[in-house]
């Protein structure tokens, strides 16, 4: 199963949540995976979605770091 995160296509396992797609993305990019819980994630229309959302329901997601 594939989805795009900030324009990069990521392959994730069946049943993955958006959280797992972002963890894989961060791991592949060599970024600190512990930051994933602090992200605000958006769907293709710019609506906020949560990290528990099923990855299979989203073809494209974007994220930004939560403002303090």
């Amino acid at each position: 199963m594939k989805l795009k995160i900030n324009r990069k296509t990521i392959e994730v396992f069946e049943g993955a949540q958006v959280r797992h797609a972002l963890l894989s993305y961060f791991a592949l990019k060599g970024l600190d995976v512990s930051q994933v819980e602090r992200l605000v994630v958006f769907d293709r229309w710019g609506h906020e979605i949560d990290l528990d959302a099923p990855a299979s329901a989203h073809e494209v997601i974007k994220y930004r770091t939560r403002r303090k």
């Binding site: 396992f13 069946e14 049943g15 797992h20 791991a27």
Partner: protein
């Protein structure tokens, strides 16, 4: 002429005044995922709205369960949510894909215990399961007839996203074609509601084919909408999960026609004011003595974290029928455990994340690459392993793994070409992204369930001095 015009205007004003105006108020939740702790607040919100609008209709767009062991591991799994939804006064829910996590018999039992209806038009269980579903239902809300149709998403396999074994002898039909069969409700109802667990993109997509629907109360994609959004003349609502917010929708009907519709979000999580009766019921579920149940005796104390890590991976491997397992070190949440009782609560504190158990068929070479990736991404902590032991050396400058050798339990090196069945939690799998053939698949179980089962099967455990990792210089 002026007199005639004046009379006409007067008549129009009089007619307008006579036009019957009614309001439908809907309080809707979606993807609650067992957020039982939010129910006292949700009860307060429902009570407040009911004071203003006595005919308030309360709906859930599915995925009520799966998210908190106090709910999902109850003696009748997920009964606390049903009980809390009963007391808050829900009228109907549709099925989310996670409602199937209870299996056919579990689902039938939960529906029978519900004081609200379960509506899902595209799910057709074999009568032997006694799953009491209806495709739609009419509700009388203060003189307004409201038709509610339920529908659930189907994944790539043509079934909702849960374990296929839990859907044996249940057939599913395509959502849009199925919904279209109920267009007759437009003629019979003042307002038509689609209670959808299809996800926001699909709700938008199908809205163009359903001009006779007034509102789609949506769920599944955990999409936060600002109140609701109009698409093709249909108001669509949805919130992120676990009761952070709910939606209050208002639909105005004049002379049998919907003339306006709007929706607003109401914050639930973390807000003050609670319904005390609901809070008392919640307390009962949260203090469930079943969680003090002793699963096994630890014959010796667990003195270092590695001993607990070895037990966790043994449990994953043994109970899922895999040959090997590894677990990210950060996923083992305490360091030591005294000899004596090992209870359900002890397991839930040891493995609290409600991670899913996954299986993947990987070669020895792929396994080495995955473990190195897991080490790099889990704060350079080496994962605990089962069905094998690991010997590794580190680069003193970077702390990266220089060399890793995996051994079978008989001391021979793991065959790098052979394929092994790996049991792993979904977090560890996500932080081990490598270029491999099998990305993994869920078993449909929560990892803590496997530890509980393992301890029950063992009766006694002894992990004193057990080591699965060796660092060499």
């Amino acid at each position: 002429m002026k007199k005639i015009l004046f009379s006409v205007v007067l008549m129009l004003v009089a007619l307008t005044a006579l036009a019957e105006r009614k309001e439908l108020h809907i309080l809707s939740a979606n993807d609650m995922h067992a957020a039982i702790e939010c129910f006292p607040r949700l009860g307060f919100i429902a009570d407040s709205l009911r004071t203003l609008y006595p005919d308030l209709l309360i709906l859930s767009a599915g995925d009520n369960r799966s998210g908190d062991p106090k709910n999902d591991m109850y003696e009748i799994p997920a009964y606390p949510m049903v009980s809390l939804m009963n007391i808050v006064g829900f009228h109907a829910t549709t099925l989310g894909n996670h409602e199937f996590d209870s299996g056919q018999e579990g689902l039938a039992k939960l529906i029978n215990m519900s004081a609200f209806s379960t509506l899902c038009s595209n799910v057709h269980p074999d009568p032997k399961w006694k799953i009491n579903l209806r495709p739609w239902q009419k509700f009388d809300c203060g003189g307004l007839t409201v038709g509610v149709i339920g529908v659930v998403q189907l994944g790539s396999m043509g079934i909702p996203e849960s374990l296929p074994a839990r859907m044996t002898d249940i057939s599913f039909t395509q959502p849009l074609e199925t919904i279209k069969q109920y267009e007759f409700l437009r003629k019979e109802c003042d307002v038509v509601v689609l209670l959808s667990h299809l996800g926001f993109p699909t709700d938008v997509e199908i809205s163009k084919d359903l001009p006779w629907v007034d509102i789609i109360v949506g769920g599944h994609t955990h999409t936060q909408l600002a109140g609701g959004e109009m698409h093709n003349g249909i108001l669509i609502t949805q919130n992120v999960n676990r009761l952070q917010r709910v939606t209050h929708s208002t639909i105005v009907v004049e002379d049998g026609k919907v003339v306006s519709k709007k929706a607003e979000n109401i914050a639930v999580r973390g807000e003050k004011n609670e319904n005390k009766a609901v809070a008392e019921l919640l307390k009962y579920f949260q203090n469930n003595p079943a969680f003090e149940r002793v699963l096994a005796q630890a014959d010796t104390p667990f003195l270092v974290k590695e001993e607990l890590g070895c037990m966790v991976t043994d449990a994953y491997m043994t109970e899922s029928g895999a040959e090997v397992s590894y677990q990210n070190a950060g996923g083992v949440r305490y360091e030591t455990h005294a000899a004596g009782d090992f209870t359900v609560n002890d397991v839930l504190m040891l493995d609290p994340f409600q991670n899913q158990m996954m299986l993947a068929d990987v070669t020895g070479k792929e396994l080495v690459e995955m473990i190195i990736a897991c080490y790099d991404n889990d704060g350079q902590r080496f994962p605990y392993v089962a069905g094998m032991t690991a010997e590794y050396s580190l680069d003193p400058a970077t702390n990266k793994i220089k060399k890793l050798t995996l051994y079978q339990l008989d001391g021979k090196k793991l065959n790098l070409k052979k394929t092994y069945r790996l049991a792993i939690n979904n977090y560890a799998l996500a932080v081990s992204p490598t270029n491999r053939k099998d990305q993994g698949r869920p078993t449909g179980e929560v990892t803590s369930d496997l530890i509980i089962r393992y301890l029950e099967h063992q009766g006694h455990v002894n992990y004193q001095d057990r080591r699965c990792l060796k660092v060499v210089k």
